[in-house]
Symmetry: C2
């Protein structure tokens, strides 16, 4: 019998790019950005059912209450980080508590995947490789020369549907992104990984032993309370802060990519949200009460207020509590400046 996949959901992000809706304890992953459920709840639902084990959530202390409130029937185990140490240390915590042969599926908590069946098929393909000690990453087939993502260059094929990773490319200039799109054989790095716990442990002990040992000690000395383990602060804080991409994936020699088209988005800006939101015939997407006259292509999040637009095009109007953000959607990358000013 195939061992089940152990979902590991990384829930430590703050998500200021969707300010003012996302901030503080109510981070992006906990918002119902596309209506109905939160991104976190959708992530949990996406890896529930036959073939998946009980999920594990790694989060910070400020997010424990939201995780519990939004977990519904999924009853995840929690490992709580006493301080943020980026994704390598978070993955190390999950590995430290797993049996060596467990297959861990690590994923962010704030992305959207519309074709879940395609995701599940890719997980099946990746699991076969993970059993052979490949560290597998999922590559998103690029739809445009986006400069906001890292890229993965595919190398030699492994079987029908995977490739050895030739190299990782950091967020590229537009010229390079266009060239990769034209050449083919590149995919976006979505930060979703599947591996055998023992294989990742060995890779970490080779490439980033300080991170792994700090996380392992933090786990071993952690305070358990029912389903929740609070990692030991002193031990865990000793971990250098680094991403799993930098610390392990880019250095390891047995990394595979499974390319997949699954309607993925990181919803990394209000513009990305607008692209996925349900729009009316004028291209306006609204959560809440909107009156629009001669207005097109706008994104409105009214949050209990009544927004009236007259003659506006391609702008975002985001209301949250006492804050109202107004900007062209094309300026979505500059939200952080406002978020910082309004802290």
């Amino acid at each position: 019998m195939t061992p089940s996949i152990q979902p590991v959901i990384l829930c430590g992000g703050a998500g200021t790019r969707l300010w003012p809706a996302s901030r503080g304890a109510r981070a992006k992953q906990f918002l119902d950005i596309l209506g109905e459920e939160s991104l976190f709840a959708r992530t949990l639902a996406r890896v529930a059912g036959p073939g998946f084990g009980r999920p594990l959530v790694i989060c910070g202390t400020q997010h424990v209450a939201m995780v519990r409130a939004q977990s519904g029937d999924h009853a995840p185990r929690l490992i709580v980080e006493p301080a943020p140490r980026n994704t390598a240390a978070a993955v190390a915590l999950a590995v430290a508590g797993a049996s060596p042969d467990a297959l861990l599926l690590v994923m962010p908590s704030d992305h959207i995947i519309t074709d879940v069946a395609a995701f599940h098929r890719a997980i099946g393909q990746a699991a076969s490789l993970a059993r052979e000690d490949w560290l597998v990453t999922f590559g998103i087939e690029p739809e445009r020369p986006d400069t906001g993502f890292g890229y993965i260059a595919s190398g030699a094929p492994i079987g029908d549907s995977a490739f050895a990773v030739r190299r990782f490319i950091e967020k590229p200039p537009l010229k390079d992104a266009e060239a990769m799109l034209a050449e083919g054989g590149y995919s976006w790095n979505a930060g979703i990984f599947l591996f055998r716990a023992g294989a990742m442990r060995a890779a970490m002990l080779t490439h980033c032993p300080a991170i792994f040992e700090a996380a392992e000690a933090g786990f071993a000395k952690g305070a358990e309370n029912g389903d929740t383990l609070l990692a030991d602060r002193t031990a865990f804080e000793a971990a250098p802060s680094d991403s799993i991409d930098y610390a392990v994936m880019e250095k390891h020699d047995r990394v595979a990519v499974v390319p997949v088209a699954m309607g993925w988005s990181d919803l990394g800006s209000w513009q990305a949200v607008h692209a996925l939101a349900g729009c009316d015939e004028a291209g306006n997407a609204c959560a809440g009460d909107l009156f629009a006259l001669d207005s097109r292509g706008c994104l409105v999040r009214a949050e209990g207020k009544r927004v009236s637009l007259v003659g506006m095009e391609d702008v975002a109007v985001i209301v949250d509590g006492d804050d109202i953000l107004v900007m062209p959607l094309a300026r979505s990358q500059d939200v952080r400046a406002a978020a910082l000013a309004r802290q």
Copy 2:
């Protein structure tokens, strides 16, 4: 001794053009649109002091409380209209209660005049004509070919600083407005009038007797309560609804205009408000808490909220209660559509 001027302030407007700030009982005249005092309070202050008698305010029942609250030490008398019947009937109420030789200075409650000394000089010039039974209107020297105002064509001079009115021109097409500006001898009709009560009474009995008689009966049968007279509903409601311009001024043969440059604005749109508001070096004018990045020429009324603009130009963001209006300032004339939709 020169008899004093009796100010008559018409306070019946609703002012939806500054929606959502202006609405219902809190009409435009009661707002501190340019900071500090309301337009109504500024109007009262403008006609207080030597040479002016006790002011009379004509308003609707829904505005009595605001008038009282914002009258400060001016202690005006009030005549309350049980139903709105436009400006002719309002002027008739004031005339009905005045001695024939009283000089009535009728003016709207929601305009701004920055050069009050020039206004007072013009009042002195107009008073001389009013004593000779001219119905005097004040003509604003036009600064641009505005299509939002009526125009007054000057005819033969009367003394040094006044003219007989040749004709009134309704809000003109741009072409006609440009031609008038080029030709000279035209001024904007600001709806400010000075006349002897007896002269206006005679003119109304000639040109609009039904209006005057209904208002006079409404006044005579009205219910007095201290400084406030509530006109009799049945009698007053019989008055046809018409403006003082149409009902009297355009028909009378002894109408004079005193042209005056006095920093006048009717603040008839958010664009007009922006033009008069104090702006920062980027041309942004804000009442409230604004963070602006790469934003120019905007008008923000934050009303207790925090507005953040990124990359916006020449837009209005008006917050009031549960309503948020966003539009280019150039679309200010279309506010009414939003106001109607949000009633």
